[in-house]
């Protein structure tokens, strides 16, 4: 027997698998950059309340629109608040809300997509047409409607964002399921008489999980942009809580003479989105999914 096989690998624990994936991701420059940016942002989100040099809501008319100095690293805004403090705190809400929003999107989008792919036929047709109908509604209008009806609390924003960003995942999960469904191991499970639930759980999910996770990671960065747009329009986080979208919105009128107040949140937001994007790409490559050829958007 060929026990000294070079391809030999034993069953690994989930933790060992994850660490191996992360090491593969970090072995590419783009993956390493993406991961470092993401990890930096996450750590910052956790520790920022303890390291913030000033009070984020302390208004001081005497300190209005100060340019960056040793005391106020990124200057101050039109109300005299420290921009540095507000920037490092500004990602917390966005990151939390969109993270849980993506989880919800992943869950309902993934499961519905897999279910539709498996049962096919009329149920699939009807559900997919409903999803298409929702896709045709401009999401920002729909979000504005929801927010103006139910308010801008976290309990409203997370499920609402999760719902609107899950529609795309339904399509991806369904397509990935279609790839698997024709394989003989599904036919075999059917012929043995396994229930639909058992087929989804045991046979399909392990095979489509990777594709859906990657899609979910991409949706996360889009959702972040969407959430910041809501804040920018005044429908996201309410003042005085620091938030990048809100800060950009407030400071954009003063851009010509107080550029520091708008640049800092822009850098924060775009670096996080780039970080998530690069990480998702590296994640896909580490799992062996080539987004350039297989990405169903």
């Amino acid at each position: 027997m060929k026990l000294d096989n070079i391809y030999k690998e034993e069953k690994k624990s989930a933790f060992a698998k994850l660490s191996e994936i992360i090491i593969t991701m970090a072995s590419r420059p783009s993956g390493l950059i993406g991961l470092s940016i993401l990890v930096f942002h996450i750590i910052l989100a956790f520790i920022s309340p303890y390291i913030a040099p000033h009070d984020f809501k302390a208004i001081d008319p005497t300190l209005m629109l100060q340019s960056p100095s040793a005391e106020y690293w990124f200057g101050t805004d039109d109300l005299g608040r420290d921009v540095f403090t507000r920037t490092i705190l500004g990602g917390r809400t966005a990151l939390t809300i969109t993270f849980f929003g993506s989880l919800i999107a992943l869950l309902w989008g993934g499961l519905l997509g897999i279910f539709c792919g498996l049962v096919g036929g009329k149920i699939d047709d009807v559900v997919m047409r409903i999803v298409d109908a929702f896709l045709s509604i401009p999401w920002i209008l729909a979000m504005l409607l929801i927010v103006s009806l139910l308010g801008t609390s976290t309990e409203v924003l997370i499920p609402a964002l999760g719902f609107f960003y899950g529609k795309g995942i339904v399509r991806v999960a369904r397509a990935a399921t279609h790839d698997v469904i024709a394989k003989d191991f599904i036919v075999s499970a059917r012929a043995r008489g396994h229930s639909n639930f058992s087929i989804i759980w045991n046979e399909i999910i392990p095979n489509v999980r990777d594709a859906i996770l990657v899609e979910g990671a991409m949706r996360w960065s889009w959702m972040l942009l969407g959430f910041s747009s809501l804040s920018f329009l005044g429908f996201g986080v309410s003042p005085p809580t620091p938030d990048w979208g809100l800060m950009i919105s407030n400071a954009r009128g003063l851009m010509s003479f107080a550029y520091w107040a708008v640049i800092a949140p822009i850098v924060g937001l775009s670096s996080l989105i780039i970080g998530i994007n690069l990480t998702a790409d590296a994640f896909a490559k580490a799992l062996g999914i080539d987004r350039s050829t297989k990405a169903p958007v």
């Binding site: 060929k2 096989n5 191991f185 012929a191 095979n207």
Partner: protein, 674 residues
């Protein structure tokens, strides 16, 4: 030495593993291709035969690189050439015919246009001349009415016709060397025989040298003058075709020829133990050592050199070839199987019809199927307990369709499927109870697809055990190990994933999973056709052994008549979803037979240069079964008249209990077929 057109010298190709080791796919290959010669390269999957063929046209697959050596074509080394210079050679001097012509042709361009493209690139003809040349080429590959074929799209042609178009395209540049990579593997038996005959004709007619790569010794035997046998990246045997096939002096070839089932011999061939080592795992010594019956201490520690034997005109890589020289021929011994079937009937199909037609709205509402000319019609078969019945036919003959209906995966239009003389089985899964599902299990053609890549072997085999018997914990584990031992796999396989197993091992796991349900009937859908020849015999032997132990009934679907001959007790021949002939396998393989069986038997390729296939009928492909009369009327060479087109032929019984559905009386059939 001017007649050598391509010279491969000490060629090594390999890749670097993750750990940085250099792993060789080809090890120090040297050979010559002479002008006008057809060389067959034969080996199992992973032996490096395709890599060698591609290197001969100066191409190294992505991820691999040349470690040493050269491929000299007309005194220039292809592997060092710039791609601009290679362009002038490829297509013009060396042409390639791919395995799957259907995928190699652009689907949205007409055949004529695609050949024209090749001509524009590789010749200096003007438009009028090219047009003439296109018909000429299509004529040469014997396509009917070239003018109409040129105006068709690839999908409008059958597999055999597509392959012919690929040959025509390759000939467009009048190449000196044709490389053929498994050109007939995906084709039906009859089509394959026709394409090989065409290739032989072209080789003679144009004087082109050919390199024919295949795993199928039967096909190689029909076309090649010289054979190169490869094993894990090395040439182990090289010599004139007849000598190699009649007197194989390398243990690998010897064993390989013994393990191929033959039409003339009923019973299971001897199998070769083990499987080909993965590249990079051989530490020293002969690469075939593990599987060799003739090995000794010397083979373990030293690797043999390729040695040229002048008196046999053959090169061999073995220390002990002399032991084989004296054996005049690979005399085949087979394990005759005893028909242990009982008289008790286990499964009965009566008047079964199956339709794939899209149903009208009204029929959908009333949940019925209406189709006057269904894909499968009038299937009546009795299957006795403990027997192996084989369904044989070309692709599209409905054999897999019937299996699906028996398994409950496809609804029948009419007819009854009866189990154990009194229980009716619905052809709809949802209407079967768990026990009905348990008694019938499936084994699929391709174990890569039938095993979930994300499950370990343990999880795969546990599924039926948990589902049908609710086993848990220690008892489950014990049963799994028990089953693994029954399919000759060790306990340590439990934690492995399918991708870590070889093809044969995967199929064994699939067999274990089927037997885990303790079924009465196992449906085998082309179970050996995705396996290497040396592994195929082992799996067939295993199936036979398990059948004897458990008294299971097999329904065995295959297109390979030699495999069917080896394992089955009874054979049913199908054409266009209709039965042509049913009988004990010994009698089906003897004349008189149905004209279609005659065609199938004639087209089987044997690894023997003296047995040529007999091409009785045209290899046309019919889309739909005829509405009236005999199902084989469109291709039959023995048509007696209008009666064949109008009336359904009667079942006639021969003396030995073989039923033939034909208008020609048995006595006359016997006379004509002698």
């Amino acid at each position: 030495m001017t007649d050598i057109i391509e010279k491969v010298k000490n060629l090594s190709i390999g890749f670097r593993s993750k750990k940085g080791e250099e792993i060789l796919i080809l090890k120090n290959i040297s050979t010559n291709i002479k002008k006008g010669e057809t060389v067959g390269i034969v080996g199992e999957s992973g032996s490096g035969k395709s890599t060698l063929a591609l290197a001969m046209m100066g191409y190294v697959k992505h991820g691999l690189y040349t470690i040493g050596g050269e491929c000299q074509f007309h005194s220039s080394n292809l592997l060092k050439m710039k791609s601009k210079d290679l362009e002038k050679i490829r297509g013009r001097k060396i042409a390639m015919i791919p395995q799957n012509a259907g995928q190699a042709l652009t689907p949205n361009l007409k055949i004529g246009y695609q050949i024209d493209e090749a001509l524009q690139l590789h010749s200096d003809l003007d438009e009028k001349e090219r047009e003439k040349k296109i018909s000429e080429l299509l004529n040469k590959v014997r396509l009917p009415s070239p003018e109409t074929i040129a105006l068709r799209y690839p999908h409008e042609l059958s597999g055999g016709q597509q392959q012919r178009v690929a040959v025509a395209m390759a000939l467009a540049g009048t190449p000196d060397l044709l490389l053929l990579d498994e050109p007939t593997t995906g084709l039906d038996v009859t089509t394959q025989a026709h394409v090989l005959e065409l290739l032989n004709f072209i080789a003679k007619d144009t004087g082109t040298s050919m390199v024919y790569v295949s795993h199928d010794l039967g096909a190689i035997a029909q076309v090649s003058d010289r054979i190169i046998v490869m094993y894990s990246g090395e040439i182990v045997l090289e010599g004139p075709s007849r000598d190699i096939l009649k007197r194989p002096i390398h243990p690998y070839t010897h064993g390989l020829l013994k393990s191929i089932p033959k039409l003339s011999l009923a019973g299971l061939p001897e199998s070769m133990p083990g499987s080909q080592p993965q590249p990079g795992t051989i530490k020293g010594g002969c690469s075939f050592f593990d599987r060799c019956n003739f090995s000794d201490e010397n083979c373990k520690n030293n690797s043999p050199k390729l040695e040229f034997l002048k008196d046999l005109n053959t090169s061999v890589r073995c220390f002990n070839y002399e032991k084989l020289v004296n054996e005049s021929q690979a005399s085949q011994t087979v394990n005759k199987i005893k028909n242990k079937s009982q008289d008790k009937e286990i499964l009965n199909l009566s008047e079964v019809s199956i339709s794939y037609a899209k149903q009208k709205l009204l029929d959908q509402i009333f949940n019925r199927i209406s189709d006057d000319n269904p894909t499968v019609k009038d299937i009546n078969i009795n299957i006795k307990k403990g027997e192996t019945i084989a369904l044989v036919g070309e692709s599209g003959s409905g054999k897999s369709t019937i299996l699906k209906s028996i398994a409950g995966l496809l609804r029948t239009k009419d007819g009854l499927i009866r189990f154990d003389e009194n229980r009716n089985l619905s052809s709809d899964l949802k209407e079967r109870d768990p026990n009905d599902l348990r008694i019938i299990q499936l084994i699929f053609q391709n174990p890569d697809e039938s095993l979930n890549p994300n499950h370990t072997v343990e999880e795969i085999i546990a599924q039926p055990l948990k589902l049908y018997f609710g086993l848990k914990g220690e008892e489950l584990k014990k049963n799994i190990i028990d089953l693994l031992q029954k399919v000759r796999l060790g306990e340590f396989y439990t934690s492995r994933y399918p991708r870590q197993l070889s093809g044969g091992e995967k199929q064994r796991v699939a067999v274990a999973r089927a037997f885990a349900a303790k079924p009465d009937i196992i449906l085998c859908d082309e179970v050996t056709s995705a396996l290497d020849v040396s592994v195929q015999a082992a799996v067939l032997n295993l199936l036979q052994q398990l059948k004897e132990d458990f008294g299971t009934t097999y329904i065995f679907v295959s297109h390979d008549l030699a495999v069917v001959r080896a394992i089955s007790d009874r054979v049913a021949v199908l054409y266009q979803g209709r039965l042509c002939e049913v009988g004990p396998s010994n009698d089906v393989y003897k004349f008189p037979s149905h004209p279609y069986t005659e065609v199938l038997l004639g087209a089987v390729l044997e690894p023997d240069p003296d047995i040529k296939p007999k091409l009785v009928a045209e290899d046309i492909v019919e889309e739909r079964p005829p509405e009236k009369g005999c199902c084989f009327q469109g291709r039959c060479s023995r048509i007696v008249g209008d009666i064949c087109k109008k009336e359904l032929p009667p079942w006639q019984l021969t003396d030995s209990g073989n039923a033939i559905r034909c208008h020609i009386p048995i006595k006359e059939l016997q006379k004509e077929q002698f």
